[in-house]
Amino acid sequence: MRYFGLIWRSAWRKKIRTLLTILSVFVAFLLFFLLNAIGQAMTGGGATIESASRLVVIHKVSLINPLPISYLNKIAAVPGVDRVSHATWFGGYYQDPKQQFGQFPIDPDEYLPIYPELEIPEEQLEAFRTTRTGAIVGASLAETYGFEIGDRVPLHAMWPQQDGSETWEFDIVGIMTNTSKGGSDAMFLFRYDYFDEARLWSKGNVGWYVLTLSPGANPVEVANAIDAQFANSPAETKTSTEDAFARSFMEQMGNIALIVQLILGAVFFTLLLVTGNTMAQSVRERIGELAVLKTLGFRDQAVLGIVLAESILIIVIGGMFGLLAGAGLLAAVSDTFSAMIGVGLSVSSQSLVLGIAIMLVAGILSGIFPALQAMRLTIVDALARG
């Protein structure tokens, strides 16, 4: 740190070049933080820890095959299961087929306690319990579509009612928020009893079960016990953690991770060349000055350190601005993205650590050859050249 003034001054020796290099670094890290957040959201890597304690039970053949409601009590009886409830895919849309969001018929008493991160005022929950056609919506959805408590909302669904109508009407009785970081509340919940009684087909079935574990229960053992219970029945089950379930779904999107890696690979390869070239030019121009430093008694290692520190400094400045801009942009688009794929966006601590590690490594890699060159300078040669 003693040499900070010296390093700072030499970094700005050619202002335009340093500025342009910092801007390149800035763009590279901006891309890194943005793409990492999107990649993590798409692959479920941003899931919170509490979700690992929930298990999801689906039909073994696929998510679209329903499970009988009679499984509820059988699953509840499995040792290690604390609470269990169910949800079903409603798959409707509001006004325009493009306006789709998660809509699930659920049990008002049993479903919400499984998701403590979903918060709703007690009196609204009470209204949900007493209103047969009631629905509760996430705050982000309410904002997007202008839903307010007391509104009557028609949804057009894939499920016909007994009278053949495919339009279902719901009364908004509550608005919930998701208190977990990066969690989404973009969903529309309504009552399963109303749904099951009114629908034309598949009565007595649910889409999937979700359950919480008793303290100390082993998720793998519980999952195996549940699947074993329904083995060889007409509806065999597949139980996995909610995390794994979300990931398996996102993995089906395919090589998103590959694309993100490809882009970042190209970006950082270029970045190394840009900063490496800047440092090489800078050292070449300063050979005389570096020789003077050595003449003044600076050790070889100190000269190496000064050049390396300069390249790290340039990258860290650019990288930090990239981080700031990235976090700002992500916060700005998080809600839009959340309404689209149901996951919010933010700079995770994981990508923060990774980003800073990359800054340091890239700083060292792009500065190391010029720095070694500077270290190995012999005073006489360098002064003669400079």
Partner: protein
């Protein structure tokens, strides 16, 4: 003419002494290469997806779904309804039978070969008439399934992407074993991502009774669509939506391709800005290393505009090289790269990346813009260089 000659002469000089500034020039070129590579690669994914979905899109085939269904999964018809739809006006007839195909659509979990992870693969119940409403469907390996048996045929794309679907293999979905008896191609269309079997067998295995999910009909001609669609709309027995096959697949492609583009364009834009900084850096270095040379030219009578234009040409040429390399790399590495993703019917679509000529052209245009923008400010500086001062610095 003299002005043009000056530009040519100065540009030639610039290019001839490029080797002296090789490091910065290569950095600028690589920057542009990366932009064009990423641009072409990401957008070729959107292109390939669209191409696969629209390959089947024919104007004289109509798809009928239950009203409001945004995918086949959400639709449903009774056997009687499918017969009534097939006999409406506008439907082509082969002898006394309408050319129509009522189909059932379910999803099964099959692991992807590359990752071993389960994916939703479309499993369609069809009969021989499915071949009548689709062009180019051909059995390329093995044979057609026999009716009433647990036999299935597999699209070429599905066979290459998902595990255990080789011809002759036995697969287990739920509690039923199926024998893979053949493979088919369908002109590169989305049908190649699917598994087909006999409708009654599938209805039985999935306890669907005699229900169907979609009806495809071959129309007399593309112009008959209006008549067919009017007949459906005015008939109180039906509450359905009808699309030409081309419109249907285009709308199915829209969401996924749109999402990829939503990712691709901003990323390209940001990377292009980064590359402009690289080009600026390289061109400033070029101008400052040629300070004496430029001053000498000016002293000899070359005009400032010639210096300006030639500097921009140099930078644009460097970017063009980068763009060509990036485009070529994208084509060699990604064209035909097979992947599968979740389409809008909640099921897998197998497709190839398509690095098309118009994508490459766009990529080159992006490169040229980067070169021009990156060269402009340094060129201005070169043109404004005070001659006397630059010569004194010698």
């Amino acid at each position: 003419m003299r002005f043009l000659n000056q530009i040519v002469a100065v540009t030639r000089l610039n290019i001839l002494n490029l080797p002296q500034r090789i490091a910065t020039s290569v950095v600028a070129i690589v920057g542009v290469t990366a932009v064009v590579l990423v641009f072409a690669a990401v957008l070729s994914m959107a292109k390939g997806f669209e191409r696969t979905l629209t390959a089947a899109g024919s104007d004289d085939v109509a798809i009928v779904l239950r009203s409001g269904a945004t995918s086949e999964m959400m639709s449903g018809f009774s056997h009687e309804q499918t017969q009534q739809i097939a006999n409406l006006p506008g439907v082509r007839r082969d002898g006394d039978r309408p050319v129509s195909s009522a189909e059932l659509f379910v999803i099964v979990d099959v692991p992807k070969i590359k990752t071993g992870k389960d994916a939703n693969v479309p499993f369609r119940g069809v009969d021989a008439s499915a071949f009548g409403v689709r062009d180019d469907v051909r059995i390329v390996d093995g044979r057609m399934f026999e009716t009433g048996k647990n036999e299935l045929i597999v699209g070429r794309g599905a066979q290459l992407e998902f595990a255990g679907l080789e011809t002759g293999a036995t697969v287990r979905f739920g509690r039923v074993d199926w024998e893979v008896v053949g493979a088919f191609t369908a002109g590169g269309s989305v049908s190649e991502s699917e598994i087909w079997t006999d409708t009654p067998v599938l209805q039985d295995a999935y306890r669907r009774g005699a229900s169907y999910q979609s009806v495809r009909v071959r129309l007399d001609s593309p112009e008959s669509f209006a008549a067919f669609s009017d007949a459906l709309a005015s008939d109180p027995r039906f509450d359905v939506d009808v699309y030409t096959e081309r419109d249907w697949y285009a709308s199915q492609a829209e969401a996924t391709a749109g999402f990829i583009r939503l990712l691709g364009y901003p990323v390209t834009f940001l990377m292009a800005i980064g590359a402009v900084f690289g080009a600026l850096n390289s061109m400033y270095a070029s101008v400052s290393s040629r300070g004496t040379e430029i001053a000498t030219l000016r002293a000899l009578g070359f005009g400032p505009v010639a210096v300006l234009v030639s500097t921009i040409i140099e930078s644009t040429l460097l970017a063009l090289v980068g763009g060509l390399v990036g485009g070529a790399l994208a084509f060699v590495v990604f064209n035909g790269f097979r992947v599968s993703t979740l389409g809008s019917s909640f099921s897998q679509v197998v497709f190839d990346f398509a690095v098309t000529p118009d994508l490459l052209t766009q990529g080159i245009v992006v490169a040229l813009i980067i070169g021009f923008v990156g060269g402009f400010l340094p060129a201005l500086r070169a043109a404004r260089l005070p001659v006397a001062q630059a010569l004194r610095e010698l």
